[in-house]
Symmetry: C2
Subunit: 389 residues, 2 copies
């Protein structure tokens, strides 16, 4: 039995592929004169973070206050929380700001005022711009709202204006590279216009953008000061399908035991389902939903995706793989298959940790604590310690 | 600020609703003369498990060997693992079988033989039947395959035949109660036929079924010996939409901070996304995807779902709520909204724990450990302990 110590679904991580992805993106940032502030929400790992340090990275992006705390306590000293300020966490934000150079996102005057009133320590402020994604941020062409917020920040005691920031999430909806570039350019142009409208208020205004498709493929970053891509550290099937990466750039794969064979319908059932991979899916060329690609495992890693093999259905713990007819006969129960995830950020969050190909492990913030047990929790066990954040 | 100690997305659990759901299903089992073996994969909590004990429940179902270990170590002594045997875990299965009355699922002769060869302790065997769901199990009408497996089990040293078992997952795809009942009946009839074909081999053969829609709504369980529903402990929007439960039967809601307001498009952005709720969605009457219903929080719990309010989009940490126009003006940043989840099993798995309405907490197996850090893991922290299972 290959890799007999892998007994349950296990997220494998190729350090060499991951380090290559990191070095490649850092080189792109350097070549274009951009400040590189990678988003750590994809990997959420101190060990993987150390590989960024090895490449000279000193400033990072995270998506929650808790994640900022996790990396601040690992000696990262320059952290942007790329998520709208949550007023319920102002005390935690203030204590982080006492310890590191902390950046936050603002998009509303009342939140800016309430944050400023609650802080004792200075924070860097990025105004969040919506360049068309329609999630959060001030619309790029709502100049009045932009100027009102800039004025509030300017008049505050603790908020230090840094610039404007966007997540050009539109590029994730692009069908292919040409559309990625088109959307990236449009977002960039809108950011430059928004910045120009604030330049009299913020002479030092900077522009920060961050999306893996754009940052991987674009060659024209003129006007941009900083990039914050995250997913590139692992890539995944979604990026592969859009032509953003190659299969050999995908740095994680879920090793899943085969638990049942259904030759008549050319299917095998895996131990590995929605709680391991997440329910994220993409459509193939015919419009069929797929939840992952399939590869053979070897002791040194995994091979290229098998042609015609897909995770076609999924329940809580089960994944159903369709295989080309010739493959099913070569597989028996107890084998492992490697699943390349559709969305690596979510799979990593589900799995809460990694196994490297040398058998060692890497941490994930979700493995530390999401819900801290309250003191009154009655159900402590010999396998469970109480963590008080 | 209401509930100021809720700072991040937090899964609220109503003990009274949950206990009412438990008592109601136990009463149904009793009224129909059925053995009640609830599935604990929905809640995965020792504390919630204790509420089942309070209602006289002594036998349970789980979906993984690790989950069986979690409950065995909490003194549950009769556990069925309702997942195809994973040959990579035979040692763990054997050690569990030494400690508790352990039931496992088999559907193939080679797995039965390899399991039997590896065991030192006896296990109860349920033959997994596929009554039409098409996931795992022997097709209900594949009598040859059924009889061959029954024979293998009969000739084994350590496998004790108990009966046949199905998960009638078809009922989850039903549009409404009438279709649930129709599919439940069909599955039941097929189980009875499959059992009849084995009765000369297994005179004591038992029939076990388990799906929340069928077990909640059916009134004719003739021929069935055991039920294993799980989701009923919390219910969710999927069950509400199919007419299986009422809104007031839903026992969990995700409390999410409001972080941004977009009055022009009648939307608010929540801190609470795919990593909290899961990406499970249902379609409303017009075919629009929705990721949750929305309710107001009060200190004693949450209210009825707000008419016309839905979680319409979701990314990793963000949820976008559409509200009726009249509502947006009453909400400010820092408020909490309660989201009723589409699929409570997955939301509980994401959140890894519960906050009861009295402020105490309840455990979840996923909060204990999924990936046990290897000894070589370099990234231990002051907030992270090493758990060795």
């Amino acid at each position: 039995m290959l890799l007999p110590d892998i007994r349950i679904p296990t997220l494998l991580l190729s350090e060499s592929v991951c380090r290559r992805n990191i070095a490649h993106m850092r080189d792109r940032a350097r070549a274009h004169g951009l400040h590189f502030r990678p988003h750590f929400k994809t990997h959420q790992s101190r060990r993987i973070g150390s590989w960024f340090r090895d490449e000279g990275v000193t400033s990072i992006t995270v998506s929650s206050v808790g994640m900022a705390r996790y990396f601040a306590d690992d000696d990262w000293e320059d952290i942007t929380i790329a998520f709208p300020v949550n007023l319920r966490e102002v005390e935690d934000i203030d204590s982080l700001a006492a310890q590191v150079a902390l950046g936050v996102l603002l998009e509303s005057v009342p939140v800016a005022q309430r944050l400023d009133a609650a802080l004792k320590n200075p924070v860097d402020v990025w105004i969040k711009i919506d360049t068309g994604y329609g999630r959060s941020g001030i619309a790029h062409d709502d100049i009045d709202a932009l100027r009102r917020l800039a004025e509030t920040v300017g008049a505050s005691r603790h908020l230090r204006p840094r610039g404007i920031l966007t997540h050009g999430g539109d590029t994730y909806r692009a069908a292919g590279p040409a559309e990625v570039l088109q959307r990236f350019s449009l977002s960039r142009d809108r950011m430059i216009m928004a910045a120009d409208s604030l330049r009299d208020q913020y002479p030092e205004i900077r522009i920060s953008v961050g999306d893996t498709p754009g940052c991987t493929l674009a060659d024209d970053f003129s006007g941009i000061d900083e990039i914050r891509p995250g997913n590139f550290v692992f890539y995944d099937v979604m990026q592969l399908q859009r032509g953003v990466c190659r299969a050999e750039d995908i740095a994680v794969a879920l090793a899943c035991p085969v638990v049942s064979l259904h030759e008549r319908r050319s299917e095998v059932v895996l131990y590995g389902g929605a709680v391991h991979l997440s329910r994220e899916h993409v459509a193939d060329a015919r419009g069929t939903q797929l939840f992952g690609l399939v590869a053979q495992l070897a002791s040194g890693g995994w091979g290229a995706p098998l042609s015609g093999a897909f995770v076609t259905r999924m329940s809580q713990e089960h994944g159903i793989v369709h295989l080309p007819d010739s493959r099913t006969t070569a597989i028996i129960e107890g084998d492992l298959l490697a699943i390349l995830p559709v969305h690596s950020c979510l799979t990593a969050e589900c799995m809460k940790g990694y196994r490297l190909l040398d058998g060692s492990s890497a941490d994930h913030f979700a493995g530390v604590s999401k819900l801290a047990p309250a003191p009154s929790a009655p159900a402590q066990t010999d396998r469970q310690e109480t963590h008080t954040p």
